[in-house]
Symmetry: C2
Subunit: 371 residues, 2 copies
């Protein structure tokens, strides 16, 4: 079944109109508004189009005229292989894709390498709006997006004046989790967190580094933890925080190893993501530590693997994050950018899910009165 041979020059709506002896408008109508011309003429137009190998109106020219590209750009300044392996990121992508699919609009992954200074790809993307996810605060790509005169929604980022935002209340969620552990009696804690900045630092993280983290989410979770524990008298500068640049179960395990090797006294391991927590569980098992009897381990995100592992964690509706962002960026009543008056900030509900990986610590008291 051969497709029509490509003639020297592709047929256009105009050449087709000329061939037919009708106006271009009529040809356009044949495709876009069938009710505007007689069925016979329409058939003749379409037949001739086929004969001439005219593939129908050019999408780009149409977009220029109608001012609609029919796609939303997704900015994800993260290693792609990384994003595609992170269940939370995938959830966001899925939610966004679903919202866009409902609207008959595409989702375009805008190429933007982590270190890359060249933001041309952002400028060249023919999209009707942007959704930004998992980008460090000072990323040049983010700035380039904000320059574009299209609606933009940011996920999990600090609120920027005039820019819509979708995300959970990380601080509140982390506080709840912290008080769950505090209530159980934990005071000797260790923290495993994801990368805090673009520079690699696999190991302990100073308090200054925590506070200056470029990744908003991680920064919030850590500073909130600090506040909660300091409120009950824990000196945060004595709390070990191990950072990992890569976000894999294996890195979670190695981080836990590093932590426990040098801080065997910790009774609870708080991880800023479920992936890291799953790794920590592996490492605990490897060491023969019983969870939660010997050590409590908590995660963050509520991915399905965590549920399977009955991990104590904070569930956040990642799919809804993507979907809300999509609905917001597509909302026709909110065309135009940077209007502070109509700025929307959607805060999603989170839920502390207490699994089987958290319990009271084996305290000194228990030892004294124990068998």
């Amino acid at each position: 079944m051969g497709r029509p041979i490509r003639t020297r020059r592709q047929a256009t709506l105009a050449s087709l109109a000329a061939e037919l002896g009708v106006s271009r408008t009529t040809v356009s109508n044949a495709y876009n508004r069938p009710d505007q011309l007689s069925p016979e003429l329409r058939k003749r137009v379409l037949d001739t189009a086929r004969k001439l190998g005219y593939p129908g109106p050019d999408p780009v020219a149409r977009s220029l005229r109608t001012r609609k590209a029919g796609a939303i750009g997704l900015l994800l300044t993260e290693n792609l292989s990384y994003a595609f392996r992170d269940p939370a990121a995938l959830g966001v992508l899925e939610g966004l894709a679903l919202a866009c699919e409902d609207a008959g609009v595409g989702v375009q992954l805008v190429p933007a390498r982590p270190g890359e200074e060249d933001v041309a790809t952002v400028h060249r993307a023919g999209v009707d709006g942007f959704v930004v996810y998992s980008v460090p605060d000072d990323d040049p790509h983010l700035n380039a997006v904000l320059q574009r005169p299209v609606p933009t929604v940011i996920i999990d980022q600090p609120v920027l004046s005039g820019v819509d935002r979708v995300g959970p209340d990380d601080a509140a969620a982390m506080t709840t989790l912290a008080y769950h552990l505090i209530g159980l009696g934990h005071r000797e804690i260790g923290v495993l967190c994801m990368r805090l900045s673009r520079d690699r630092n696999d190991g302990f993280s100073s308090r200054e580094r925590q506070e200056k983290a470029h990744y908003h989410v991680q920064r919030t979770r850590l500073t909130t933890l600090a506040q909660s524990f300091e409120a009950v008298g824990v000196d945060w500068s004595t709390v070990p925080v191990v950072e990992r640049f890569e976000h894999t179960v294996e890195d979670g395990a190695s981080a836990a190893r590093q932590m426990l090797d040098s801080n065997p006294q910790v009774t609870a391991l708080i991880c800023t993501s479920d992936i890291l927590a799953l790794g920590a569980l592996d490492e605990a098992k490897r060491r023969g530590l019983r969870v939660p009897a010997d050590i409590s381990i908590t995660g963050f995100d509520g991915i399905s693997d965590a549920e399977r592992a009955e991990l104590t964690t904070v569930y956040q509706p990642v799919r809804d994050k993507g979907r809300s962002a999509g609905n917001l960026v597509l909302d026709p009543t909110r065309r135009g950018t940077g209007n502070p008056v109509t700025q929307q900030v959607i805060t999603l509900e989170t839920e502390l899910r207490i699994g089987k990986t958290s319990a009271p610590p084996r305290t000194a008291e228990q030892h004294w009165f124990g068998p």
Copy 2:
């Protein structure tokens, strides 16, 4: 940090040129060819642009002129939630995204619902090429894509004249797997497969249905299996094949249950995907069947969960599939479509990975001479 207030009408390259008293060419050059004008003038242009809130050349207008959209369309006629949960599909997407990222080109998920007859989204997508994956043979969207005068690469689909294709040699791979089991001595087999057509059929699948499957990959795997086992004297019409519409571990388990409830004699369960096989493993465990002592179970794809489970399976490089497709569709030496002369068919290597889920069956002989 306020972004410039939106004036009644967005500034354009022309209005900027007028303001500056220079030609549009000069403004265009200020952005695209800095060497074509003096640094002073360029600075003046860019400064004035900022002042007027001109966001730089419009991407769509540029695309119209340059005939480049800067994006590749991905056609995936599958429930999105489904695709995002299938590790094989994700691998393809990741590979494609990586190849495109290297070229500074975006990947656009073209919205195309499974049942949807409306192919307008395909016609409206402003892309420089298409990659088609996991689409039934007769999908209208696929036809719409082939109509478009842009390069197209199909993954895992039967070879279409004039259309580039990337995929493994499913037939050869399945034959190897079949002979592995045949060599072990299995003759009583059962098969679990994914959906064969758009209509739902959760249950046993007739031979006719297998041969008429709209999903090329599944069809090939089944017919190849049939040929291999018939070659050693097995009557395929006696081989039970259980089909599942959804592709989840749970469905794999339920399929295995249905199979073993009515066919307890089978010594090997051949699954056309790892996901199904993982479910079958769960079900075997639930029944107290030892794998592989009591029953052999095999998968297909070689996803990472399968590796962890030490499943006997056929590994195929899903990431490379996506990457090859991307490189092919982007290849500048192969512009233009449907040129049968330059048609490329890339066949990827597969590898039989023998894990710990396949072993010889407990044959009648063994029973006779056993303890």
